[in-house]
């Protein structure tokens, strides 16, 4: 992300998660830029090894939840206090705050509702996931038991190929940008 220049990409296929993880660390230490890894399952520590930033989805979820809480507070205030106050079991209806204990369940549920749903929509949006989208992985084996790494090619191609072979790559191919 954020790279404006278009270098060719070298793709290397691996068959073990530990090998991929150490390969990413090795390549990064040697100044290569690992732009993507496609894997069949989450590899613990891979995001750090690739230098990915922490995701902000959980922070977003907090604010989505807050939105839900405010919405529920407004809704209960508007319907029960402002628009049509009624005497229900003698519960105080002059001020929202006094009637609030009755509204706690709904406030809680709407907090969760907003946080969960809006976070999932955000997750789909930032990942580009939608019904019928084209498969993002270039090699179908990466949802089974293979791992595909993409490295930006800067400089000597043969040196990179040799490096990848030494690190345990099974197949290497080059994609022109």
């Amino acid at each position: 992300m954020g790279h404006t220049k278009h270098n060719p990409i070298v793709r290397a296929l691996f068959n073990d998660d530990d090998i991929v993880l150490s390969a990413v660390k090795d390549l990064r230490a040697n100044g290569f830029h690992v732009s993507e890894v496609y894997s069949p399952f989450p590899i613990h520590g891979l995001d750090e090894a690739m230098g990915l930033k922490r995701t902000r989805l959980s922070t977003a979820a907090f604010f989505y939840g807050l939105t839900g809480l405010f919405f529920a507070s407004w809704l209960t205030y508007y319907t029960m206090i402002m628009d049509w106050p009624q005497n229900i079991g003698g519960k105080p209806n002059s001020m929202w705050f006094l009637n609030m204990p009755s509204f706690v369940p709904v406030m809680f549920e709407l907090t969760v509702f907003f946080a969960a749903h809006l976070m999932c929509w955000s997750y789909f949006a930032v990942n580009g996931l939608y019904p019928g989208a084209k498969a993002q992985n270039p090699d179908p084996r990466t949802t089974d038991d293979h791992f595909l790494m993409e490295v930006e090619l800067e400089g000597d191609e043969d040196a990179l190929n040799k490096k990848l072979k030494d690190l345990g790559a099974l197949e290497i191919s080059k994609i022109e940008a």
């Binding site: 989450p42 509204f103 789909f124 996931l129 989208a133 992985n137 949802t143 089974d144």
Partner: protein, 462 residues
């Protein structure tokens, strides 16, 4: 880095590789349905149709076709509603609470348990809808502007809290389930040969490609959803219990209801998970993934929550006596020794007595015994709700209006219909969805797979 103590038993049996997991879990989706599946599906479908007929009869004629009378004006409908909601709770507990506690054994069972949650909450939701009588007015439970009448919905009412709780629970469970399903649908998409199948799974998998950043977000979203679903699941059955606890009926008006209902919900839900998974692992040959270890863990949960429920029953009796309120005392005396004594003692036997067998390691690792107990527990939990609801109201303050409840064929038919509908959904799911969260399972293969653990024990940790 993939080391796990040898004290812990392996969770994935046999000499499995990542690819073996893929093949084993894709197999039921890609192969023809076994004969047992067709038999089960046909039975469930007939039950479902019978239920549809009875529901249409109820809607067309009115709820007078049920066995309700002036005194017992709430019976099987709410019993079935609470029973189904309760069953749903185990799914969320397994996928959310056990995720927060980092219990690896959840990974083989969470997908099916969540499916069970969603399908049973659908059954539960049917009952309030049917009981409305005029189901086409169902949208009146939503807080909509009041040109439809002159009033807003009442936010002081636990019945409205229930609307919010159940709908939040159903939709949040569904997205939680679906977020986890996407990578597994992508796995099936990438190996599908049949073009129709490939197209369907392409639609379902949303284009998932397993990029590093996406997995990072996936794990974060799963964690936050688990954190949201945990208080949510507790709130749902708490609010269901408020339907009774906020009333002034002796036998319902008790502060112990929320924790007692939640424990009961987990208890019955785990029993239903056992029933379903014992069948699934057998029919689809998943014994290597859902093994004795998983079944034993679930039996321990059943034993613990069953005992909590037992303590709650006894506490209720004690508090009724200690309160000094004679109506409260009579409500409980009548439950245990009145005309519904058989329901009360069935409940006690099934829910408090039967799970105590699980203290024996031999019994809790016996599959046939586990299956029998899982059915017994679900019968017991149905009786629990029936006892709470019907015995508390069938003898009210006015002895001249005391009565009994007997269900009509319509009451029974709708209940049977929901069981059929549940199994129709579950059986369709089991044939078309990856029944085990294979992407998650692959992450624990190297630490909890039998072959890898053996290798560690022989060669030491690296």
């Amino acid at each position: 880095m993939h080391y796990e103590s040898p004290v812990r038993n392996p969770l994935i049996l046999g000499d499995k590789s990542y690819s073996d997991i893929t093949n084993d879990i894709a197999k039921p989706v890609e192969s023809k349905a076994p004969r047992a599946w067709w038999i089960a599906f046909s039975i469930a479908f007939v039950m479902f149709l019978w239920g549809v007929g009875n529901i249409l009869y109820t809607i067309g004629t009115g709820i007078g076709v049920w066995g309700l009378n002036k005194t017992v004006d709430w019976a099987w409908d709410i019993t079935n509603f609470v029973w189904w909601v309760g069953i749903g709770h185990a799914g969320t507990l397994i996928s959310a609470v056990l995720l927060l506690f980092r219990q690896k054994w959840r990974m083989a069972i969470n997908r099916s348990a969540e499916a069970m949650t969603i399908f049973s909450v659908i059954q539960a939701g049917l009952f309030p809808l049917i009981h409305m009588g005029r189901i086409w007015m169902a949208y009146w439970v939503m807080p909509i502007p009041n040109q439809f009448g002159s009033l807003w919905v009442n936010f002081n009412s636990p019945l409205l809290w229930d609307v919010f709780a159940i709908s939040t629970y159903l939709t949040v469970s569904t997205v939680f389930w679906y977020v986890g399903l996407i990578p597994d649908f992508a796995m099936i998409r990438d190996r599908a040969i049949n073009p129709v199948q490939k197209h369907i799974y392409k639609l379902l998998s949303f284009g998932w490609g397993g990029k590093a950043k996406h997995w990072q977000r996936f794990e974060e979203v799963s964690l936050v959803l688990a954190g949201l679903a945990t208080p949510l699941v507790l709130s749902v059955h708490t609010i269901v219990s408020f339907d009774f606890a906020t009333s002034v009926i002796p036998g319902w008006h008790t502060t112990i209801f929320p924790p007692y209902f939640v424990a009961g919900a987990i208890f019955s839900g785990f029993a239903m998970v056992q029933t379903l998974l014992l069948i699934v692992r057998k029919i689809f040959k998943m014994e290597d993934y859902i093994n004795i270890e998983h079944i034993e863990m679930m039996n321990i949960v059943i034993m613990v929550t069953g005992s909590i429920v037992g303590v709650a029953y006894i506490t209720e009796l004690f508090v009724a006596w200690y309160s000094g309120v004679e109506y409260e005392q009579y409500a409980f005396l009548n439950r245990a020794t009145g005309p519904y004594w058989w329901a009360y003692w069935s409940m006690m036997t099934c829910n408090v007595f039967s799970p105590q067998f699980m203290w024996s390691k031999k019994l809790r690792t016996n599959l046939v015994f586990t299956f029998v107990i899982s059915i017994v527990v679900n019968i017991g939990m149905w009786f629990e709700r029936f006892v709470i609801i019907v015995t508390s109201i069938h003898r009210d303050y006015l002895p001249s209006s005391w009565s009994m409840f007997s269900p009509t064929f319509v009451d029974i038919g709708i209940y049977i219909g929901t069981i059929g509908f549940f199994f129709v959904l579950f059986l369709l799911y089991a044939r078309t969805f990856p029944v085990i969260a294979q992407a998650e399972l692959k992450t624990i293969l190297k630490s909890s797979g039998e072959n890898f653990k053996k290798h560690h024990d022989e060669h030491g940790a690296h």
